[in-house]
Symmetry: C2
């Protein structure tokens, strides 16, 4: 860049970057020299139109520049052709064609930025910036010369180095075999899909097309859960999701929860390979159906990024998960894994597609927790933040700028509706939200698939069609919390009798009681109730969760946290108030408890759309302090102490005043079946 003060001044917005350039300098050239984020796939040949800019004419007091109408060169034939063929919005110019003539202010619209931010539906601390590992480059390659023989591939590599500053580059044989034809068909120009490694500056050609091709490239962000597999087919240019779908994890037939699957692998030689085949086939099928749904060709899918817990991580990669089931819970690998998608038997993608699996944090804290860390960035927070991702295991992160700690806690599957008498997965027919009137003790609830509350008009008709089949994870949590608030359950977790509570919904079951949420027996449906056993299961789960969080707080040397984030698909559905009534999480101001939606899935998308994010999470994971609950004596103590539900008199600053907790006690002789909660005598 020259700095002759008589040269025209160019100011780019919104970056504000400015510099003087000789008259005749293309806008794209000026942008590149100033480091302005202006896209180009064709390298300035007027083909790709990615470098569109909007020059601003008139007086600009903000920048102190008057822009004349002829500040840029006149509309030229390339722009004209492009406008006729594809249309150029009013006021737009092609940055590679328009040249600077006089002082000018040029706006780079967001669609012309390479690293544009992606607007995410869910509010989050993290801004998602496009920086995908796989991108298109148009390149013009020298023709072969008998006098100076060199290979087609070497001339392509030289052109990439010269025109894009990209080197070294390699190509798998399957791409190399198509190079000759593509170059000749494209008249010595090709568009290549290049993949950049996140740990090295290694570029790999995944695919190529003759001439200039505006091929849309896609990636799969896959949240591989124990129960469900969710995948988002994502456009690698702008991060938009073209299609989403989920399927049940077919490994469920080998074991409902993770430890059953580890046992299956231990007891059945080849069992792990069997489970690996099953999950890979399911993912492959998911990829194929997503491509079909979005109307794209499978060859357009260039990458798959995975987040999952450690057991699923191992079963996906074909690693024996047995070590994860026993101390010292050793991972086969704790780095991220970059592989070819076909090494994972994924055939419904481009033949050279890449797979990237986020790193696990520890033997019990998975790549899903790493993805949550990528999304929520606890290490970038000023406030001490507790992040809880609730699943069969709760994965817990605690940290701020100074340090991040992580652990997992064996909550068991109660929070997912398993081991609950009327429990079921979150599916149509499941009660997902519950309210109980403290005066009448009558419930109202919502059912998945029905738009009304149970006491609203139209509900009965809808329920007759859908059926009310059970209660899912969020439903059971709300039900228990509401029962506590309505005085149906005491602080030790005991359900009162009909006499004690004054409602016939409290029925006797053996030596304990249950609360009937919905009696569908008259219509041949189920009786949906919350039993004493259900309360105990929730108590165990929430104690484990609470104990894990407390353990990290001990390690950190604190009794309070500033923020609580409930992550996970499940976390999205838990109301913070109910979580605190149950004592699932440490005390925090209610407005500081937020749900983060599917933060793990979002982390997968971030890693899919940003190669820098991959390097970042690899580094972050290394720096996290790993805390192992299984060997921490304090964990057991916290676990036992956390068994009770909050008391009316608990020093619970946030909850008190918002939620009245009745001071009841149903601890009658013979009724409590030895629940391990602390018991206090109450004044009658």
């Amino acid at each position: 860049m020259t700095s002759d003060t008589t040269d025209p001044l160019v100011i780019f917005t919104p970056s504000g970057k400015r510099g003087r350039f000789p008259a005749g300098t293309p806008v794209l050239t000026a942008a590149r020299q100033l480091g302005v984020d202006l896209d180009s796939v064709c390298g300035g040949r007027g083909i790709c139109s990615k470098c569109q800019v909007t020059p601003s004419y008139g007086q600009f007091s903000k920048h102190g520049v008057t822009v004349a109408d002829d500040a840029l060169s006149a509309w030229n034939s390339v722009e004209d052709r492009y406008d006729r063929k594809r249309g150029l919005a009013a006021g737009r110019r092609l940055g590679c064609q328009a040249t600077v003539q006089r002082d000018v202010v040029i706006d780079v619209p967001e669609t012309s930025q390479v690293h544009r931010q992606v607007v995410r539906k869910a509010a989050s601390t993290r801004v998602m910036v496009m920086d995908p590992a796989t991108k298109l480059y148009y390149v013009e390659v020298a023709e072969p010369d008998m006098h100076d023989p060199s290979g087609d591939f070497e001339r392509l590599a030289a052109a990439l180095a010269e025109q894009w500053d990209i080197a070294p580059v390699t190509a798998p044989l399957s791409v190399m075999t198509r190079l000759q034809t593509a170059l000749r068909k494209g008249n010595w120009a090709v568009t290549v899909a290049l993949h950049r490694g996140h740990t090295d500056e290694h570029y790999r050609i995944l695919d190529l097309y003759p001439g200039f091709k505006e091929q849309r490239l896609f990636g799969l962000a896959i949240d591989l859960g124990s129960t469900t597999i969710a995948a988002h087919l994502t456009d690698l240019r702008d991060g938009t999701v073209a299609a989403s779908a989920g399927v049940m994890n077919p490994q469920i037939r080998f074991g409902e929860d993770l430890m059953s699957r580890v046992s299956y692998a231990m007891m059945n030689p080849g069992g792990d390979a069997e489970m690996t085949r099953a999950v890979r086939a399911a993912i492959d099928g998911l990829a194929a159906s997503l491509a079909e749904e979005a109307g794209i060709a499978p060859v357009q899918i260039m990458e798959a990024v995975f987040v999952c817990n450690p057991v699923m991580h191992h079963l996906l990669l074909g690693l024996d998960p047995v070590e994860l089931g026993q101390a010292p819970f050793a991972l086969a690998t704790s780095r991220s894994v970059s592989a070819e998608a076909r090494e994972l038997d994924l055939s419904a993608l481009n033949a050279n597609a890449r797979a990237f699996v986020l790193p696990c944090i520890a033997g019990h804290v998975g790549a899903d927790a790493a993805a949550v860390a990528l999304t929520e960035q606890p290490g970038a927070q000023d406030k001490l933040t507790l992040i809880v991702d609730v699943g069969t295991n709760a994965e817990i992160l605690l940290g701020d700028r100074s340090r991040v700690l992580a652990c997992s806690s064996p909550t068991g599957p109660a929070f997912e509706g398993a081991q609950i008498s009327s429990g079921q997965r979150a599916a149509p027919g499941a009660i997902e939200r519950v309210e109980i009137d403290p005066a009448t003790k009558e419930p109202r609830f919502r059912v998945i698939g029905i738009d009304h509350w149970s006491d609203e008009p139209g509900f009965a008709e809808a329920a007759a069609a859908t059926g009310i089949t059970g209660i899912c994870g969020s439903g059971i949590i709300e039900a228990v919390a509401e029962m506590r608030m309505a005085g149906l359950v005491d602080a030790s977790g005991l359900i009162g009798s009909a006499d004690q509570t004054g409602t016939a919904r409290c029925i006797t079951e053996g030596r304990t009681h249950a609360y009937v949420l919905h009696d569908g027996t008259a219509a041949g449906g189920p009786l949906i109730s919350v039993t004493q056993g259900d309360i105990r299961a929730i108590q165990l789960a929430k104690s484990a969760l609470y104990a894990g969080a407390r353990l990290l707080m001990d390690e950190r040397g604190t009794d309070t946290v500033d923020r609580v984030v409930l992550a996970g698909a499940f976390g999205a559905h838990i109301s913070p108030k109910h979580a605190m009534v149950l004592g699932m999480i440490p005390d925090a101001a209610l407005d500081k408890v937020t749900g983060a939606g599917n933060a793990a899935g979002t982390g997968a998308r971030i890693a899919l759309c940003s190669v820098a994010a991959r390097a970042e999470i690899e580094q972050t994971v290394r720096e996290i302090t790993k805390v192992e609950t299984a060997i921490a004596p304090a964990f057991q103590a916290h676990f036992v102490n956390a068994n009770a539900l909050p008391h009316a008199t608990d020093p619970f600053p946030t909850l008190r005043g918002i939620v009245p907790l009745p001071d009841v006690s149903y601890n009658t002789r013979g009724q409590d079946e030895g629940g391990s909660g602390r018991k206090r005598r109450r004044r009658a």
Copy 2:
């Protein structure tokens, strides 16, 4: 290394490297610090015994050192155990166990050197030094620690970095999946087979074994010819050939010569893929049979290195060879190709075996010529050296330290016995050597598979069993040259009649004559003769060869060369004298014309056994000046001028005096069918 002059002095032989080390320093440590080439697989743990040394006791005037009997520490329990288990030769010590106590001279036997030289059967300019890309390393890995969780793979990588200074290292998923079991079975020690790239410092784990394993690793050096595929199964530790075998190239059914195969690819869609499948299957079969013959497991084969001409190069790699059949003869790639063996559909090797294909020099000058350059090193010669590798195309190198040039010349298949009336491949029954008595004009010859000359006792019986079926490439060259020396053929290439030559063996065939080498018709066998057409075919072939060599000499600006090397399996069988009588090669002193045996195959073995050689040839090929015969007008001129056989009066300093060339002329009217040779009138 300390340099305290009171420390014991250690002198290593044969390197002569010396240094002072504190008493108690292990010999292996001293060797490493001095850069002495002393092997170790186990890293000094007394397991592998690769570091055996021979201390020399007594007076050593050469080094001026008196070595006391206790110059090294006493024989220890590790050495004792090793001696009992596996035996340690008298006088040998383990370099990792014996420690320096006083001044000592220590010999490193050749078997303990990593980079030991390999004794080659054929004399050659190049010394082969072991430096294989794939080697074994024994490594002890830290156990997992719950308090500081890390993956098994990361601890292995850390151990390799610490114990062997090897980083970064990667592993394919198929190796990663076996790591956990291997580490635990080996009690946290494994032996890994590591492959090092020749262009980067990238290490890749190809295989691993629990604990210490003295696994022998092998590689295949494959000379992939148009007609035959020859493979040598080579021990990667010492370069010895465990088994060799050859098969016909199954592509012959698609076309006898290369251009027919290129045509087949052009005319038949998918024809190139068909040929690729055929040749890969043949190589895979060859690998399997070699492993069986050598009694090793296929998983022990870690690498395959290929040399081949450009068309075979492309057909092996699955690249369309059509471009090689037309100007500008563009290669798909001119660099070496590193790939996974399974990318070439080779399954009879280790699943993670690597393939390396030497670089082609130009569209007509193949990786086989590059391999010849690696073996013969024209660029390292003081004398200007002409290297000719004769096949269907002759590939020609000319050079010395200042510069190396290369071209190929379209000799056609006559030198291989094709397009010759009685021609056949070099196989049992083929006449391979010929002598003709200048006085009697009677021939004697040798036949492949028979140990006697045709005029020796026992020949008739052997011939009755074997049969005499035809004449191979070396046979036809000797026959034509001998006919010229015996005066049966004149300088223009015409065969005389029975009257003109005085022998009834010159028979009339139409308007030309033929010379009968062997008449087997009485026994139902063939009549084997050299016809006028055969002479013309040889003249065309040798003119092309000569013209190529001359073209390089023109480029170099010289009329003479200092040395001529005849390479190729065929070159090994051509007698220099006969080659010069035919005028195949430029004039040179007869004792400066040597055969180099299968220099291309040797180059494959060198590249297989030395990763440094791979880098070297990659660089060498880039520096070679490529000369294209097809566009050089001088080539045509040389070709036409070279058509004649040498004249008796030619200024042929070397030949004259050794070989009398009769001054005959059979250029009678109507007999010459328009041969393009220059014609001179002779004195009668």
